[in-house]
Symmetry: C2
Subunit: 361 residues, 2 copies
C-alpha cells in the first residue's frame, strides 16, 4: 500500500428526503439503506481501504456526527475525524483536509469523495482510482471521475471532456462543468457522447490542490494556510472554529473545478448512484416478484406492486392494495406516500418542524 496515498471522505451532509429512515442526527450516509449490512459510510471507507492505511483516511464531518462516525468506523484514527463547526459546503471542507494532510506529508496524493453514494461495480472503481492515483502522483492534474450516463438525468451535474485530445488516453481534459440541466439540454448531452455524470469524486496531489486554492480561492487558502502550527495539536479545534466562521460558503465545483485549467476526467462505468431519493433507491435495488422492495420477512403484501415497504425488523406489517407507494415505518415515525409525490417529503418534514415536533425529525 502506497504510503503517500490518502483519502478524504466527506460525511457532513444532511437532508430530509429519506425521512423517516434518515433523521437529523442520522442522515443518509449513516444508514444501511441497501440492507446489505453496511452503511453507506462504511461501504465508502471499505472501498478506500484498498488504497490507504487507516492512518491515511480522513473523514470530514459535522461536529455533531463525531460519535456516530467513531461507532460506524471503529478503525478510524480519532484525529483523522475532521470536525466542522458549521456547514460551509465542500470548498472549506476539502481545504481543511488538504492543508492538514500537506502539513504531514507534502507528497500526498488524495482521493476525495462523498460518503453517501453507492457504487455497485467496485472492481471498476478500484481500477479507475488506481489509474487516477498513479497519474496524480506524477502530474499536476485534478482528475475527476466521470460516470457513463445511462439516461438524461436532470438531477445530476455533467462533465464535458475535450474530444480532440489523444483519444487513446483514458484521462481526458475537462471542457465544461454543468449543474443540473433542463431535460432538453440533458438529452443533448447524452446525444453528444462527450458528457459524463459528475460524481463529486476527484484525485489529486495535495500540492496541486494547494496551488489551486491559492489561485482560485485565495481567501480560503489563506485561512487554512494559517493553521500550520495548529494541525495535529490541541489548538486545532479552536483554530478551525475561527477559520470556518471566516470562510465563505462555497462548493469545490464552483470555487475551483469550473475555473481551473488542469482538471481532467476519467470515465468510470461503475454502477454509481447518489441515491438521492426513495425512487432512486428503488431503481437501484433488487425487487421481488411483485416488483416490491421489502426489507423484512415480516411484511405481508396483498395486491401491492411497484412499492417500497420498509419496517422495523421486530414488527409485522400487513399491506393490501397499494401501487407505486413508499411505506416506511421507522422508530417513532410512519410515512405512507405515493412514489410520484416523493418530492413533497421535504415539505412534510418542514411542516413537522414548524409544529415544533422536532423529536420526530
Amino acid at each position: 500500500m502506497n504510503e503517500n496515498y490518502y483519502a478524504v471522505i466527506m460525511a457532513g451532509g444532511v437532508g430530509s428526503r429519506f425521512w423517516p429512515l434518515s433523521r437529523e442526527n442520522k442522515p443518509k450516509q449513516f444508514l444501511d439503506i441497501l440492507g446489505t449490512g453496511e452503511t453507506l459510510l462504511q461501504q465508502t471507507y471499505r472501498r478506500l481501504r484498498k488504497f490507504c492505511k487507516p492512518e491515511n483516511i480522513l473523514i470530514v464531518t459535522h461536529a455533531s456526527f463525531n460519535d456516530i462516525v467513531k461507532e460506524q468506523v471503529p478503525e478510524i484514527i480519532s484525529k483523522n475525524i475532521l470536525l466542522e463547526p458549521m456547514r460551509k459546503n465542500t470548498g472549506p471542507c476539502i481545504a481543511y483536509a488538504t492543508y492538514k494532510i500537506i502539513n504531514k506529508d507534502p507528497n500526498a496524493v488524495v482521493a476525495v469523495m462523498p460518503s453517501d453514494h453507492i457504487i455497485l461495480r467496485e472492481d471498476v472503481f478500484t481500477k479507475t482510482v488506481t489509474t487516477a492515483m498513479k497519474q496524480a502522483e506524477v502530474d499536476d492534474k485534478i482528475i475527476t471521475l466521470g460516470i457513463t450516463p445511462s439516461r438524461p438525468e436532470t438531477g445530476y451535474g455533467y462533465i464535458q471532456y475535450k474530444q480532440n485530445e489523444d483519444s487513446s488516453d483514458e484521462i481526458k481534459k475537462v471542457k465544461t462543468f454543468t449543474e443540473k440541466p433542463q431535460l432538453e439540454l440533458a438529452l443533448k448531452f447524452i446525444d453528444s457522447g462527450d458528457f459524463l455524470w459528475n460524481a463529486g469524486i476527484f484525485i489529486s496531489s495535495v500540492k496541486t490542490l494547494v496551488n489551486s486554492f491559492n489561485k482560485h480561492l485565495p481567501d480560503v487558502a489563506n485561512i487554512f494556510n494559517n493553521g500550520s502550527q495548529h494541525y495535529y495539536t490541541e489548538s486545532e479545534n479552536n483554530f478551525i472554529e475561527k477559520a470556518y466562521s471566516m470562510c465563505p460558503n462555497i462548493s469545490m465545483d464552483y470555487g475551483i473545478m469550473e475555473k481551473a485549467d488542469n482538471v481532467f476526467v476519467i470515465e468510470a462505468d461503475m454502477g454509481w448512484s447518489d441515491i438521492g431519493t426513495w425512487s432512486a433507491l428503488y431503481d437501484n435495488s433488487e425487487k421481488n416478484k411483485q416488483n416490491n422492495l421489502v426489507n423484512s420477512e415480516n411484511i405481508y403484501t396483498y395486491d401491492v406492486n411497484n412499492s417500497i415497504i420498509r419496517i422495523d425488523k421486530n414488527k409485522v406489517a400487513v399491506i393490501q392494495g397499494l401501487e407505486n407507494y413508499i411505506v416506511i415505518d421507522e422508530g417513532d415515525a410512519l410515512l405512507i406516500c405515493r412514489m410520484d409525490k416523493e418530492q413533497n417529503i421535504k415539505n412534510y418534514v418542514e411542516k413537522i418542524k414548524k409544529d415544533k415536533k422536532d423529536i420526530y425529525l
Copy 2:
C-alpha cells in the same frame, strides 16, 4: 338501587377483525375503540351501575382475561368475575351466571348483555332497561331489547314481534328470531315494520331463566344445578372446569330464545352498534373535514379522504394519497388495507398464525 337487580356482562369473546388494534390477549371489549377514554367493557359496566350495586354485577369471561378485567374494572368484586375454562358459546355462560345468582338470591332480576357493543343514547338504554326490569320482576318473561333498524343490515340477527298484541303495550311478544338474513330478506324485514335488530341483550328473573333452562336445555340445567354446594366456595373453579367440559357448545338464542314461548321484546332506539368491523366503527364515529377518522394530533394527511388512521400516540405519521383505507399502527404491527377489503383481515391474521408468528397476534 333495587337490591334484587343484577347484571351479567359477557366478556369472553375473541376475534381478529380489529387486528392489530385488538390482539388475542386484548380483544375488542378491552379496547377504547372510540377513543373516549373508556374501553367498551368499562362503558358497559358504567351503564349498568345505574341499576346495580357492584356486588350485583357479574362479568363472565375466559379464564385468561381475569387480570385485564380486574385492571379495567377495579371496583368489581373478585368472586363476581366468573372464569370460563373454555369457550362454549352464550348458553353455558348465561347458565353459569344464572345458577350462581339464584343460589344467592332467588328473587334476582338480571340484565344480561355483551361487553363489546356501543350504545350512544344512554338515556334511552336506561329508560328501556328500567321498564324491562320492572316487568321481569313481576312476570315470567324473558324480555329482549330490540333495536330500531336503520338499514337492511345483513350482519345482524332480527327479532320479529307480534303486531296483534295490544299495541299500547311497549313490551311485545316475540314471533321469530332470524339469524343474519340475505339482503333480499333483510329488505323485506325493514319494509314489514315488525322486525328489530337483536342486540343480544335481555332481562329476566333468574327463576324464569332456570325454568327455561330446565325446559329447553335440561342437560345444561342439570350440570349447573349440581353446582349449588360449590358456588361461592373454593371448589367453584374445579366444579366449573368439569361442568364446562360436559357442556354442549350452544348459543342462548338457539338453545332457548328461539324455542321459549315467553320471550318478549321492547324496542329501543338507543344508538346501538356491535361495531364488528372497522367500517362500522368508521360509520359510528365523528370524522374530520376530510372525512377521516384519526386518533392523534401527530397524524399529518395530504390527499387522504374517507379513511381510518390510527397510530400509537407517541408516534408521528405522514400519510399521502389514500382514499377509503384503514391504516392502523399499533405496537409491533402495521396494517394498511382498503376499507372494502376489510373482510380479508381475518385471513391475513390466519396467515400470520400459520407462519407461527403468534407474537404479533
